[in-house]
């Protein structure tokens, strides 16, 4: 995958719960020091893979490597990696400092060193001075920061994070994202993060792994996933794009002519669907411009003010689902009235063609 050293390698891992296949032959490599996010809807296998890396589940098939060492059969407490759970799992009978010191105590780190590292970890999560508090005196965001400190104090090579922000309020979640990026930079550890929130994945990660039904759908940098989705699933799940069934009628000189709802459009021939035949045309809602004229037209069925602009749902002939468009208030000052007809425009290079099986 890369010349950089892999911190963790997941090698052909398959996992079944009874007859349910949670992971189907997944192979991945997480690089040293990177922030990689496994993204997918609930039940797609991303948490199962994290638990396999942590050692809480043993894969039905396949191997997990830490550096060059096979750790598939190593028990969780012998693995030099740490995890932050979805709920803050602080020990209720210990105060904050003792919670953070737990791993160091188990590792028999001597007292002076322990105190120093606990203070350092609390400073890293910006909760210095909270050592004597009880866990239940903290807010949800503070608890998750302590859980982070408790994991990072052990200086793990790899930190696993299982939707650590999902139980928090939106405002605190946004603050914690900034904190997580900073903590990742300062700790230098490899962060393997699991989330179902595509916005979080794009905002945090160096690389995103899109999961769908136990398989890896796409791996790439956030902007790559966003601008060049490899599948209709990735296109729909990341950034909520319009995925339109089209017929490519002609491809030449880097341009493709597509038929959509009885209209012909010319787009850039980009993506694996850029050959004559059926394809999916992926158009991000925010690249769409609504203006008079144009061959592709829609009827406004819903419009909402979003602060920076408007979002619309339009009915387009020949397309089953509503067409989504996000326009900035710069381009358009007032909300279009419901029922009005308007032309849909986008730059020919702002869309991707994906391969589509002919519907039987």
């Amino acid at each position: 995958m890369s010349e950089q050293a892999a911190a963790v390698t997941v090698d052909h891992v398959t996992h079944r719960f009874g007859s349910v296949v949670a992971l189907d032959d997944v192979s991945l490599a997480f690089r040293e020091g990177e922030f990689v996010t496994m993204l997918g809807p609930s039940g797609c296998g991303k948490t199962t893979l994290l638990r396999i890396v942590a050692g809480f589940e043993r894969p039905t098939k396949g191997r997990v490597l830490l550096g060059d060492t096979d750790i598939t059969r190593v028990l969780p407490h012998r693995r030099p990696l740490n995890m932050v759970f979805q709920r803050p799992t602080l020990f209720p009978h210990l105060d904050v400092a003792d919670n953070v010191a737990f791993g160091l105590r188990v590792a028999k780190v001597e007292r002076a060193e322990r105190d120093r590292r606990v203070a350092e970890a609390l400073r890293l999560v910006r909760l210095e001075g909270y050592g004597k508090r009880r866990a239940d005196e903290l807010s949800g965001g503070q608890m998750q920061r302590i859980a982070l400190a408790r994991a990072l104090v052990n200086r793990p090579r790899v930190l696993l994070l299982d939707e650590p922000l999902s139980a928090l309020d939106l405002k605190i979640r946004l603050e914690m994202e900034v904190e997580l990026r900073r903590i990742h930079r300062e700790s230098g550890a490899t962060f393997v993060y699991v989330t179902h929130d595509q916005r979080e994945a794009l905002a945090l990660s160096d690389r995103v792994v899109v999961f769908n039904e136990g398989r890896v759908d796409q791996v790439g940098a956030p902007d790559e996933i966003y601008h060049s989705p490899a599948s209709p699933f990735a296109a729909r799940f990341v950034g909520d794009a319009n995925v339109l069934p089209v017929q490519v009628t002609r491809v030449d000189a880097g341009e493709a002519e597509v038929a959509i709802g009885g209209q012909k459009l010319v787009v850039q021939a980009r993506g694996d669907g850029a050959r004559v035949g059926p394809a999916w045309l992926v158009v991000r809602a925010e690249v769409v411009r609504l203006a008079e004229g144009g061959s592709l037209r829609g009827i406004v069925r819903d419009g909402a003010f979003r602060g920076t602009g408007f979002t619309y749902q339009l009915e387009v002939a020949g397309i089953g689902e509503p067409f989504k468009a996000e326009v900035t208030s710069e381009g358009q000052a007032v909300l279009l009235p419901l029922g009005s007809e308007i032309g849909l425009h986008w730059h020919p290079s702002a869309c991707v063609l994906l391969a589509r099986e002919e519907d039987g």
Binding site: L75, H77, M83, R87, T89, H93, G103, A107
Partner: protein, 274 residues
């Protein structure tokens, strides 16, 4: 809940009187200065307490009761804790049937347990003694202990043990550093209950005891001989010990509940069968 009607209030008061007046009378007459057990109450005195406490029969009965209750509660604590861990953690199919077998004695009448234990001891040629009483009491008390211990364990967040494992703690450390600190108040409470149940047990003891006597048996034998306030004294002492133990059990359960309060569980209501 608020009591709205006067009728309901009257019935409640009547029921409480019906429950507690006989107990109060027993306690009151244990302090009577004469040997009479009926009204009028002529004056307070501790003479019957002095009388009972200096009675060698009472002393040996008390010692026996403490001996039996102490061993019963220690054995129950050890076996019960092991069994509760096994039952709460196993994924085996035998879990259901095993739990049923463990809890069954709770549904059996004491008479039945006593009789069957007696038949058993006689068959396998074990002489009846305080040891057989301890064995029988363990059988009787075990399910009560188990009920509380399992409730405590099942309320534990399994993610806490995973977090501890993730931080490098092996099974032994997880048990002592994470599980025990959370459940010990309830285990202590359950042990107090085991002690109390054993301390005032009569029916089963009656069958499987040999030449010795425990406090409940002492009261029973005194009743047949004399009727004076010394019985009230023994009963009052027995009641006090039991009451204090229940109170201690309750306080420990409350403590455990308060620790758990952050996660919003009402533990006391479920595990203290009051």
């Amino acid at each position: 809940m608020t009591v709205r009607s006067r009728g309901a209030l009257a019935i409640t008061i009547a029921a409480l009187l019906f429950l507690y007046v006989p107990l109060a009378v027993v306690v009151l007459f244990s302090f009577h200065e004469t040997g009479s057990l009926s009204l009028p109450f002529t004056g307070f005195s501790l003479r019957w307490y002095r009388f009972v406490l200096s009675d060698p029969g009472f002393r040996s009965a008390l010692e026996n009761s403490l001996f039996v209750a102490a061993w019963t509660s220690v054995i129950t604590l050890l076996l019960g804790t092991l069994a509760s861990f096994g039952l709460a953690r196993t994924r085996s199919r035998l879990r259901g049937p095993l739990a049923l077998l463990f809890f069954l004695p709770i549904t059996l009448p004491g008479l039945f347990i006593g009789l069957s234990m007696l038949v058993f001891f006689v068959r396998v040629n074990i002489d009846l003694s305080l040891t057989t009483v301890i064995i029988a009491h363990c059988v009787y008390v075990f399910p009560y202990f188990l009920l509380i211990a399992i409730a405590a364990l099942e309320r534990l967040d399994p993610a806490l043990e995973e977090a501890a494992a993730d931080l490098g703690a092996n099974g032994w450390l997880r048990f002592w550093r994470v599980t025990m600190p959370q459940i010990w108040p309830l285990l202590v409470g359950a042990t107090c209950l085991a002690f109390a149940l054993s301390f005032d047990e009569f029916v089963i003891t009656f069958f499987v005891i040999g030449p010795d006597g425990t406090l409940p048996l002492y009261i029973w034998s005194q009743l047949r001989r004399t009727v004076d306030p010394s019985i009230n004294v023994v009963s009052t002492l027995l009641m006090t010990v039991t009451l204090v133990l229940w109170l201690v059990a309750f306080l420990f359960a409350l403590r455990a509940a308060r620790r758990k309060a952050a996660s919003g569980d009402d533990l006391v209501a479920e595990v203290v069968p009051l």
